[in-house]
């Protein structure tokens, strides 16, 4: 899965008894791969407003990518757009875990696919 997807998840609505301190999920024991894709500035610009910038940057930093500033710049330089493209669309987690800081639930990722299945009693209402 793309690393950046974490900045699009909001688990509180998803899991029962998960009400605070639950965004973003936190990666651990991650095996990263980079899969280059062509740049598409138009898509980036339209995608940007959907993201929680700080969550994206913190997630990237937790995996050793320091290329983006913590505070979102009003306009991005060309270098920042390149860095954003890389963080958004090229960084994948092949193996690892995503953990919710709020409720402690762990979503494992294997072969690039996160397992989001919940036990029936865990499903939110």
């Amino acid at each position: 899965m793309l690393v950046s997807i974490l900045s699009l998840f909001s688990s509180p609505q998803f899991r029962e008894n998960c009400t605070s301190n639950n965004f973003p999920l936190v990666f651990s024991e991650v095996e990263l791969v980079v899969r280059p894709v062509p740049e598409n500035q138009e898509f980036l610009k339209r995608f940007l407003p959907k993201l929680e910038w700080r969550a994206l940057v913190e997630t990237a930093r937790s995996l050793g990518n320091e290329s983006l500033p913590l505070i979102q710049p009003e306009t991005l330089t060309d270098d920042q757009l390149k860095a954003l493209h890389h963080v958004l669309l090229e960084l994948h987690v092949e193996q690892g875990n995503m953990t919710c800081k709020g409720c402690g639930h762990v979503y494992p990722i294997s072969n690039g696919i996160p397992n989001m299945l919940l036990a029936e009693h865990e499903v939110g209402r």
Partner: protein, 218 residues
Amino acid sequence: MSRPEEISPPEIFYGDDEARKYTSNSRIQAIQSQMTERAIELLALPEDQPAFLLDIGCGSGLSGELLDEAGHYWVGMDISPSMLAEVALEREVEGDLFLQDIGQGFGFRPGTFDGAISISVLQWLLNADTSSHSPPQRLTRFFTTLHSALRNPSRAVFQFYPSSDDQVHLITQSAQRAGFGGGIVVDYPNSKKARKMYLCLMVGHQEVPRGLEGEEEV
């Protein structure tokens, strides 16, 4: 022949063997692609712009391939690990895949997706294959989280095979309660072979598109 959704839950029915059978059957593939093309058309996305889409029950990855070809970015969900393995390893599609039971709902942030498609999946939600959750609860959970994950305005288009009018009614009612507008679009309603049903859901006020009529396109 029994419908697959009446035999066992999808994650069991689409085990390794069925997943391979399903993805290698060329007649099924042709029909699936045709329905996917039509579903994408019904999404009525702005032309020549890459969109961020959700593929619900992305299954074999056929629909994902078409989304790739159309230049869209997408996230796919499926409850069958075998199907997902098939997509990820065999087809090498670009989309991001999640092992997910859509009847449990999902946790994407409000307004994440520009649209959603789903091919031959919705009928699975009508099975009560778990003891604690009834189909109406699962439908509600699904449509509510989907509605929230879509931007305004946008659409979600489902091709599906209902087995009765009651099922259609239950599905449309759940979708409406979750805040969706829209309704059922029937293509080639008078043709036994070509007749296809699409649930075309709208976020924000929009007109329901018309079904195709006359002779089936080949």
